[in-house]
Symmetry: C2
Subunit: 374 residues, 2 copies
């Protein structure tokens, strides 16, 4: 059974002085209004760790009650930083199984009220416990992967930095983005070191926000053509390959198989650039750019709005921001707007779109393919 | 598409000096061995709050990696204390949608290493934030509901206490149970007050443990005939009715509708007796006993092993124990063993079974119906 996206909505991302429940409600109500649906058959909620970030749990019931939909079945889905897309998958499965006809998917996170070291500690719980016991953090592991990619795959710091420049330029055109201003290549390359060779402007910010979709079995403007999950060892030390993500490759393969087409039909993409080099790795892992070509394609402007294959027209995690469980859903919200021709100021011509979301240090990734209704 | 249970396994519940991952692995490997499946197509993991109970997150990836199945898609599902059955539902949906042919569902919790007040605090996150701000705890709210049920519905403390006596007697026959000894009616009624009128032996213990099932599209010994979710306001103060659970009623209605039969065919049940009076409420909410008759039926031995409708032959949450996200799965493990005729020492004659799981203070409940293969 085909599954469609009938509604999309999100909050502005950034440092938001608003409770997580209010952010979730704002996004959910926008998506429901967009779909002209008041009461969905079910609600899938994504939040990575609301207990520690906000002190509240039982988040499926909490969101349902807060929306005035306490009689609608609601559950929470979690796959670390890709939880949003995992919730989309859970909604997709329940519709494809014929268990429901419409599902509200809503995800969000609220983190900026906490000190950064505490946020790092909470996010760090998604790292393998043994590796964490030696002091690994997400930026430290990403730095290690980046260094290896520069050595083994010839990634150059200028290419990596250009990802940030491009995505900030895109974010400046997106009123929902955390960062609204452009940055220069020099500013990126001279920003302070976070985890060598990664600098501050190679890393996504800590953001608050929420995003929501309404999925239906009734045809709407955009169809979920494919959705695939891929996993890998949570322990980075067990992976045969450090500089590409098996979890993305497996997710992409599953999504393309379901869709019945490959990367050649994709015209716009949202990729998980939590760290700028991850956009280059993901471009190749999804097959959107041939192996070894992602850096060059970025420097040449191929992946900018106006280029051959615009990537992260929203600004990506780098500039739109990364409220963890909101992110996978926000990627799809942006792509729905693009496919509908409603991405004012950053519109690209496209009928087929791809989103890729990374959970943890690429242990639990998702790829989703969207297609505009013919 | 029909969904079957091909494998079932669980750990002994109780105070276990073993890591949660090891408990999960023990249950998962037992279920996989029982199903004669080495590599399932997907893994659904249930844990209510592993981050705060154990310090670890990204639990889908962690369990998959620990099982040596890091390449198998894994995600985590959460609906507070009913998370186990929510994960069964997620597995059911992905099989019914044709996305997979076999799914490992594994859930567990590890709590006894923490001081009881900290466990209460973590569990308390599933209470409505406003009600919690006035000092509500789970036992306090359960006490309030019990008092109201005694007043409005004529529940008598002797009937409520008999639930505990019966379930301890059952648990004494179950080698997997937390408590292995019987208790007398006097001991229950004279145990110390926890939240008036509830006494210590009316309340389930804090337990560690894990349980697992393997679901398949290929016919096996037991079929999931129906599965339904029901929800209600997380805020107890918003409910029109305190002494019955709308969430159970809605879940039962959905499960019976899917199964195409009603409570009259059910011959054995596992109900969520986190507090002894909840077994009486749940007996009537599921329609297994007519309204107003649950107390009498319990005193008369109708719900004991050997009675007309054995309830909680495993010992229930009261005596088998309640490692939160393990519980909904453990209920189904017990019923699979019963339907297969493998519940030595406590076997009841049955071909159709019902399990009911309560999430939070009955905000997110599930009912599952199992049927032995003809």
């Amino acid at each position: 059974m085909d599954v469609w996206i009938a509604g999309a909505g999100m909050t502005r991302f950034g440092k938001r002085d608003v409770a997580l429940l209010d952010l979730m409600a704002e996004a959910a109500l926008a998506a429901l209004a967009d779909a002209s649906i008041e009461t969905p058959d079910a609600i899938m909620v994504a939040a990575m760790n609301p207990e520690e970030f906000t002190g509240e749990g039982n988040y499926g019931s909490l969101v349902g009650t807060y929306l005035g939909l306490s009689h609608v079945p609601a559950l929470r889905v979690e796959t670390a930083t890709s939880s949003g897309m995992a919730a989309v998958y859970a909604g997709f499965a329940s519709l494809a199984a014929g268990l429901h006809r419409s599902v509200l998917v809503v995800g969000g996170e609220k983190m900026t009220q906490l000190p950064t070291p505490r946020v790092s500690e909470i996010i760090g719980r998604s790292i393998d416990p043994h590796e964490r016991s030696y002091g690994s953090t997400m930026p430290a592991l990403a730095g290690l992967i980046t260094r290896a990619a520069m050595h083994e795959r010839g990634f150059v710091l200028r290419e990596i930095s250009q990802v940030a420049v491009k995505n900030h330029a895109h974010g400046a055109r997106n009123p929902y983005a955390h960062f609204q201003g452009p940055v220069t290549l020099e500013a990126v390359m001279e920003s302070r070191v976070v985890a060598d060779p990664l600098r501050l402007l190679h890393c996504c910010p800590i953001s608050d926000g929420a995003a929501a979709l309404v999925l239906t079995t009734e045809p709407a403007s955009v169809r979920i053509a494919g959705i695939g999950q891929g996993t890998d060892s949570i322990a980075v030390r067990y992976r045969p390959e450090l500089t590409s993500f098996r979890a993305t490759q497996a997710a992409a393969e599953a999504a393309y198989r379901m869709a019945g087409f490959g990367p050649e039909r994709v015209e716009v993409a949202e990729l998980h650039d939590a760290f700028a080099p991850f956009e280059l790795i993901s471009l190749e892992d999804t097959g959107l750019v041939p192996s070894g070509k992602a850096g060059r394609a970025t420097l040449d402007g191929e992946t900018a709005v106006g280029g051959r294959l615009p990537v992260n027209p929203s600004g990506g995690l780098k500039a739109r921001g990364h409220p963890l469980a909101a992110t996978g859903i926000a990627q799809l919200v942006e792509l729905v707007w693009q496919l509908r021709g409603r991405a004012e100021g950053r519109q690209v011509p496209a009928r087929v779109a791809l989103a890729q979301s990374i959970g943890g240090l690429a242990s639990n990734n998702w790829v989703t393919l969207l297609e505009a209704r013919r």
